[in-house]
Amino acid sequence: MNENNKYPKSSIFRPLRHIKYIFKKPVTHPLETIFTKKNADYLKGVKVMKSSKAKISNPRTAPDNLRGFHINDWEKCIGCGTCGEICPTAAITMVERHDLPKVAGKLQQRPVIDYGRCCFCGLCVDTCTTESLKMTKEYIYADSNPDSFQLMPTETWQDQEVEQAYVKNEDTDLLDLERVEMEHIEGSERINSYIEVVRGYSKEYARLEAARCVECGVCTASCPVQMHIPMYIKTIWEDDIEGGLRQIYETNPLPGVCGRVCTHNCETACAIAVRGEAIAIRWLKRYIIDSAPDDMYKKIFTEPVSEVIDAKVAIAGSGPSSLSAAYYLRGLGYKVDVFEEKSRAGGVASFGAPQYRIPDYAVEKDINFIKSIGVNIHTNTKIGSDITFEDLEKKYDAVFLGTGFFKGRVLNIPGADHPDIMGAMDFLPLTRDFARGTLKLEDMNVKPSVVVVGGGDVAFDVARNCIRIQLQKYGKANVLLTSLETLDILPGSDDEYIEGKEEGIKFRLGYGPQEVVVEDGKIKGLKVWKCTRVFDEEGRFNPSFDQSQEEIFEAEQVFFSVGQAPDYSYIPESLKDKVKIERGKIKADEAGKVEGLDWLYVGGDIFRGPDIITAVSDGHRAAVAIDDYLYNKAKKKEQSEYFKEVREAIRFNNPEPALKPKRKRTLI
């Protein structure tokens, strides 16, 4: 035995010293101190408790950090279900609650926790997207009814206000709230050319960004075409580009365009955006398209289109709504002819949005695929002159109109008839041609100093185009952007404002133009009054001005970006009284069918507007409506099972009206 094992002499008396503990307070927690009133009533009836003289009313207070029973703030909870996803014991199920309001960014469901399974690990709290789910200091619950252990946490526990305990903090948060940075071309570099501003994600970055998604799907309801966003983001994370492409094309045939210039309501609705930066859904979509090789496209959608239903559809215009309608109609088996007045298909994607946002090759990639499945696109064919509307009606079984708003509008103020004044939609197509090289610098009528009127994205497009042209023409740029709206209510996106500022746009926001000052046939400037309000109490557009604050913004040229107008000159006299036009838009039912004319459908700006993705949804819906109308009429032949599947998928994905999320400003 070594010296470590030398024990003191043992004794039978020494243990008796412990008698002193009889007079000390117990350190443990006796039963009677831990039951709450409610549970005690139950337990008194239980055999084991009958004998004990439990004095019940003094529950021991748990520490501030206890992982006890849950509470859930329903105001904050968006029903994303992430708590249920992470739950290691599968104790949380999401239960539909149709009594909840149907709003963007929220799902009509709330978590129910089965306390027969819950292990109180608190991962649900750690991963909660909104911080609505918390744990309390309550830890005792007893009942004879096993069903009562399935509880839907609300703001209270057992109808009582309770103290919250374990809550999320920076360390315990299991979400990634920061967006993976997107590389942009520097402002000073990009203004010298039409190089695309956003570089796009590399594979590594795209996967990191995709890893932030919790797959809740609140985004989907806010997307006008209800894209399968969580699914295609997951494919990126799994590095399955083909799967992603397949997912995307089920609902959107213009992903290259939408991956660049979409208004991304999905990102506004994103669950991660409640507390952090939304997932870069738009850039991730673009990543799939940019990294999908051409031969991959062929695998997606070639077989079904070999089968044809004997019916023809004509489509006027080749913008997003028309291309979308064409794509799905072709997928449904129809022969489709698209007629485009301009030299290129694509509509607003080819002639509206600037090249630095959406380069031609991206538009072409989308259009080439649509062509490859058998859609005939006839460019340089104007309806009314090259082909008459009556011809369309006669030769085709159905007609879809997606001619868009392609006329610029100019404010009706003194001096606005000057030849140097242009509307945005008259100017932007020219800039696209200039960027392509089909128009020369001399042809571009841009003066050395310019005022742009308007606060939407299009106004920014005009201003940023002007900067590029001025720099090439004069070596320096001078562009001032003015709008009725101040920065807090500016309709343009935050990105545009930030990038525009980087590129050197000067801003004077909150002014209303009153007169274009013209001297000796030359524009001297724009007279403005301070705008005191844009919308009235009822939220209607009703601006008022303070005349005393009059200013003149000096400039040699003024561009107006105050909305666009349609051109309905191609609609023949015979139809004029049947096609009702309200505020520039054609009246039609939900699917775009013009009332009283079974064969005529509309979509895009002339029907619903206001953005590309809504136009794509119009096209999809109209395609399904046209199919409803023609399928029974057409001579059907035996169809393969695969074709039936594709047809069902197209009809199944028919989008519902989107929920519009409330926009969050990050600029101020």
């Binding site: 520490p63 950090n65 290691p88 990191l208």
Partner: protein
């Protein structure tokens, strides 16, 4: 006389955990015996493969109930090795505090376990009362009393709450002053000393034969084989402590070492509280939300010193969100399963409970 079969446990005051020792006795001498540890079997290792790296934290502590934190530590540090993840300095020190408190708590439970088979219940009550104080401290730090789920991949779940240091010091001082009382009640108590002295032996040959580690080994072979010393993890290389050893392993000697180790743990926690730097306590192992955290391909064996010996996790990752395979080296496997079968026979029935108690046996880690 006819051989009779008797069961020790699972429902027995002298049994530890959800196991049962099946004994074939002749008179009061055990002739044959074996352990049936599967009372708690839920396929831990297989279940771990089906849980994410992040939410395995809810399952792994259950591999050893009295001392759950070693599981969290072995799992987390293994994954960190695969991830090549440097965790914040403060997290190392907090982990040590947690692990040492867990060790004290497990030792107290085992030492108090002497009370059941010897009829000395006061000892058990006192040990459990002190253990209860540790659970209170755990509850304040981690939010739970038993399954703390606190040591996670990347550090610890959150920082220590304010003022907890004072609670710890108060408890450590009180426990230190009472260690002598524990000796008086237990191993130096003349009324039970015959039950534990020179009996329930663990010879050095058996240690080498079975691969016993921990106190069992240290008490028999006079070697300070302690993972904290031979392959230090966390910051055990920066604290001073002794590893008590002996060359004569009877029940009393092993219990004596337990009490000495409690003193060493007290010293370690005090040093931790003194040396612990301020700073962050957790880094995220990867970008993205936790359900998409992946661990690079590879395999790793990570070990910690539990109250019962070397406790290790062998983990294989195929680069996914779930572990591909986890194998647990339960510290009590050699003496618990093999020892009971081979070396319990020959002892008396009343020694069986003390055998199980002093050898350090935790049934779920045998049958995981």
């Amino acid at each position: 006389m006819k051989e009779m079969k008797l069961f020790l446990g699972p429902q027995h005051p002298g049994m530890h955990g959800n196991a049962s020792v099946h004994m074939f006795v002749d008179g009061d001498i055990i002739k044959r015996s074996y352990l049936l540890p599967g009372m708690l079997y839920r396929g831990f290792e297989k279940q771990m493969e089906r849980k994410l790296w992040v939410n395995n934290i809810a399952l792994i502590p259950r591999v050893c109930v009295p001392e759950p934190d070693i599981n969290e530590m072995a799992f987390a540090s293994g994954a960190e090795k695969l991830l090549k993840l440097e965790i914040p300095e403060r997290a190392h020190w907090i982990r040590m505090i947690i692990l040492e408190f867990a060790r004290i708590s497990a030792h107290l439970m085992a030492y108090g376990g002497l009370g059941g088979p010897t009829g000395n219940y006061t000892l058990m009550y006192h040990a459990h009362a002190d253990r209860n104080n540790i659970l209170d401290i755990f509850e304040k730090i981690t939010g739970a009393r038993v399954y703390h789920q606190y040591i996670v991949i990347g550090g610890v779940r959150q920082d220590l709450p304010k003022g907890i240091e004072k609670d710890m010091h108060t408890f450590l001082d009180s426990l230190e002053s009472r260690l002598k009382e524990y000796r008086d009640l237990g191993i130096d108590n003349a009324s039970i000393i015959k039950r534990i002295k020179d009996t329930i032996m663990l010879p050095a040959e058996v240690v080498w034969e079975l691969g016993v580690t921990g106190i069992g080994m240290r008490s028999a072979v006079n070697k300070a084989y302690d993972i904290r010393k031979v392959a230090p993890y966390a910051r055990y290389d920066q604290v001073e402590f002794e590893v008590p050893v002996s060359d004569y392993s009877d029940a009393r000697s092993r219990l004596d070492i337990k009490i000495k180790e409690v003193q060493q743990s007290i010293n370690i926690i005090r040093q931790c509280l003194e040396k612990m730097p301020e700073g962050p306590v957790r880094v995220k192992p990867a970008r993205g939300q936790s359900m998409r955290w992946t661990v690079p391909k590879g395999h790793v064996y990570s070990m910690v010193e539990s109250s019962r010996g070397e406790f290790g996790y062998y983990m294989v990752s195929n680069g996914g969100t779930h572990p591909y395979r986890v194998g647990v080296r339960g510290a009590s496997y050699p003496q618990g399963l093999l020892g009971i079968e081979k070396y319990l026979p020959g002892t008396r029935i009343d020694d069986a409970a003390l055998w199980v108690d002093t050898m350090g046996i935790c049934s779920p880690e045998i049958d995981r």
